[in-house]
C-alpha cells in the first residue's frame, strides 16, 4: 500500500505569502507536493466557511497565511482574520480536528524559507495524524491535483 498522501489546502495572501511561495519555487527549495495553493487578495477575505468547507470536502489540513501584523496591504485585514480564524481554530479543535491540521501563519514576501518550513512541518504532522475521516463518505475532490510548487 502506498503511503498516505495528505491533501492540504492553503489559502495564501496575494501580497505576501503568495510571493513567498513563488520565491520558494524560484529558489528551488524542496517541499512536499501535497499542497493546493489558493491565492486570495487578503487573509481578511477568508470566510471561516471556506475553511469548514475545505475540511468537509476532504482536505486533511488547511493553512491560512497572510501578512505580518501591521503589514497588511489593506491596513487591517489580517487583524480581522486573526480573531476570526483563531476562534474557528478553537471550534475545530473542540470538534476533534487536531490543531496541527489547521494553521494560521504570517509569512512575508521575503520569507520563502519560512514558507518551506511551514509546508514541510504541516505535511509531516498531517501524515503522522492520518486521514481526517470525520466527514466519511464525503464527496472527495479529485486527489490528483498536485501542489503548484514542486521543488
Amino acid at each position: 500500500m502506498r503511503d498516505f498522501q495528505p491533501k492540504i489546502v492553503a489559502f495564501i495572501c496575494n501580497w505576501c505569502t503568495y510571493a513567498a511561495a513563488d520565491l520558494a519555487g524560484v529558489s528551488r527549495l524542496q517541499m512536499p507536493p501535497n499542497v493546493l495553493n489558493i491565492r486570495v487578495m487578503c487573509s481578511g477575505r477568508i470566510n471561516p466557511m471556506l475553511v469548514i468547507r475545505a475540511f468537509s470536502q476532504g482536505a486533511d489540513g488547511v493553512l491560512v497565511s497572510g501578512c505580518h501584523m501591521g503589514d497588511c496591504h489593506y491596513i487591517t485585514g489580517n487583524y480581522y482574520a486573526r480573531r476570526r480564524l483563531l476562534t474557528l481554530k478553537s471550534v475545530l479543535t473542540g470538534l476533534g480536528i487536531e490543531p496541527e491540521r489547521f494553521r494560521v501563519t504570517w509569512i512575508s514576501a521575503a520569507e520563502a524559507q519560512d514558507y518551506q518550513t511551514v509546508i514541510t512541518e504541516m505535511v509531516d504532522n498531517v501524515k503522522r495524524l492520518g486521514p481526517l475521516g470525520m466527514f466519511r463518505d464525503a464527496p472527495v475532490v479529485a486527489r490528483e491535483t498536485p501542489g503548484c510548487l514542486e521543488g
Binding site: M49, G94, V104, D114
Partner: protein
C-alpha cells in the same frame, strides 16, 4: 423565597402606565390564559386593558420576546415599542442593538430579573389564578406542587451567570445565587482523545435533518438572508448566470454528514460573540441534537481567549467585526 404574583402586579402597573401615557404604542409581554401556569408572548396595543390585566412574570415565561420582535420586525417597524425581557432576552436584545437590527430609541425595555426557567408541562394544569407561584434556591413551586431546577432540563439556566441587566424599568430581585459558567458537558468532551471527540460530534452532525428549527427559534439569528439556506435566492432554471454566480452554495440541501457539518459548524462560528446561551436551539431541535455542545465551543473560546461576553453592553462592537491589536496569535504563526 421569591413570590411572583407581586412582581407580576408591578409589571402590569408599569406596562399599563406606559400604554396609557402614550410612551409606547404597543408592548410585547407574556400573558396568561386558561392554561395557567403556561404563558405565551403577546403583542398588546393601546386600549387593550383586558390583555394588560393578563400580563405575568414567572419562571414559566420561557419563550423569548426578542424572537417575537425578530419574527415580527416588518409589522413593528417604526412603532414605539415596549418589550418585557428576562436576562437572556436582554442580552439578545443588546446583540441585535449592537448590530443595528433594532433602534434603541424605538424601545422601552422592561427587565425582569430571572432565576431560571421552568417547564409548565411538568405541572398539573390548569391552575387557578389564586395558586401562588414561588421559587427559591432549590426549585419552583406552584401551590403545593414542587419541582427542582434540575428537573426541568433547562441546563443553560443552571450555568447562567448574567446579572447586570440595565433596562429602563426593572422588576424582581434575584432569589438565588447565579452560578459561574461551568460547562461540565464541555469539560467532559474536551477530556476525550481527538478521535473520540470527532466521533461524538460526527454523531451529532449525522442526525441533523436540516429543518432549521434552531435558526428560526434563535433570538439573535436575524440575518435577512441566511448564507446556508438562502430562501430569497433560490436557484431555479430561470435564474440568470450572473445571479447564480452571486449565490455560492456553501452547503447543499442534501442531508449528508459533510453538509450538516458545514451548517452546524458555521452556525457555531456565526454565533461567536452573539450566542446568549438561552438554550432554545437545543430545546427546539426535533431530533435532540445537543446543540449547546457545539455552540459552547465558540462561546468558550470567545470568553476564555477574548474575555468577551455576548450582549454585555449595547456599545460593545460586535465580536467578529472588530479586533484588538493585543489579540493572541496562533502557535508558531511567525518564525
Amino acid at each position: 423565597m421569591r413570590e411572583y404574583s407581586s412582581e407580576g402586579a408591578k409589571l402590569r402597573q408599569i406596562c399599563g402606565d406606559l400604554l396609557e401615557k402614550g410612551a409606547v404604542q404597543c408592548i410585547v409581554a407574556w400573558t396568561e390564559g386558561e392554561d395557567r401556569p403556561r404563558v405565551r408572548e403577546t403583542l398588546i396595543e393601546k386600549g387593550r386593558t383586558d390583555l394588560v390585566s393578563k400580563i405575568v412574570w414567572s419562571p414559566f415565561c420561557t419563550t423569548s420576546t426578542v424572537t417575537f420582535l425578530k419574527k415580527n420586525k416588518a409589522a413593528l417597524a417604526g412603532k414605539k415599542l415596549g418589550v418585557v425581557v428576562k436576562d437572556c432576552d436582554f442580552q439578545a436584545l443588546n446583540v441585535l442593538l449592537q448590530e443595528h437590527f433594532l433602534k434603541r430609541e424605538d424601545l422601552v425595555i422592561i427587565g425582569a430579573r430571572c432565576d431560571g426557567l421552568a417547564e409548565a408541562d411538568l405541572f398539573a394544569r390548569p391552575h387557578g389564578a389564586d395558586v401562588a407561584i414561588t421559587s427559591d434556591a432549590e426549585g419552583v413551586s406552584v401551590g403545593k406542587e414542587r419541582r427542582r431546577w434540575e428537573d426541568f432540563g433547562f441546563t443553560t439556566c443552571l450555568t447562567c451567570s448574567y446579572e447586570h441587566m440595565k433596562p429602563d424599568h426593572l422588576i424582581g430581585e434575584y432569589g438565588r445565587k447565579k452560578g459561574k459558567p461551568g460547562w461540565k458537558h464541555l469539560t467532559r468532551i474536551q477530556a476525550m482523545e481527538p478521535a473520540k471527540r470527532r466521533e461524538h460530534y460526527a454523531s451529532l452532525f449525522e442526525s441533523c435533518i436540516r429543518c432549521y428549527a434552531c435558526r428560526e427559534v434563535c433570538p439573535v439569528c436575524a440575518c435577512v438572508e441566511c448564507a446556508i439556506d438562502p430562501g430569497e435566492r433560490a436557484i431555479t432554471p430561470r435564474t440568470p448566470p450572473a445571479d447564480k454566480a452571486c449565490a455560492p452554495v456553501w452547503a447543499s440541501r442534501e442531508r449528508h454528514i459533510s453538509e450538516n457539518a458545514v451548517y452546524l459548524t458555521t452556525r457555531a462560528m456565526h454565533m461567536a460573540g452573539r450566542c446568549v446561551r438561552c438554550g432554545w436551539c437545543e430545546r427546539a431541535c426535533p431530533v435532540g441534537i445537543a446543540l449547546m455542545d457545539i455552540l459552547d465551543l465558540s462561546n468558550d473560546a470567545v470568553g476564555r481567549i477574548y474575555h468577551f461576553e455576548a450582549g454585555r453592553d449595547t456599545k460593545d462592537p460586535p465580536f467578529l467585526v472588530s479586533y484588538a491589536e493585543t489579540d493572541p496569535d496562533d502557535k508558531g504563526a511567525s518564525h
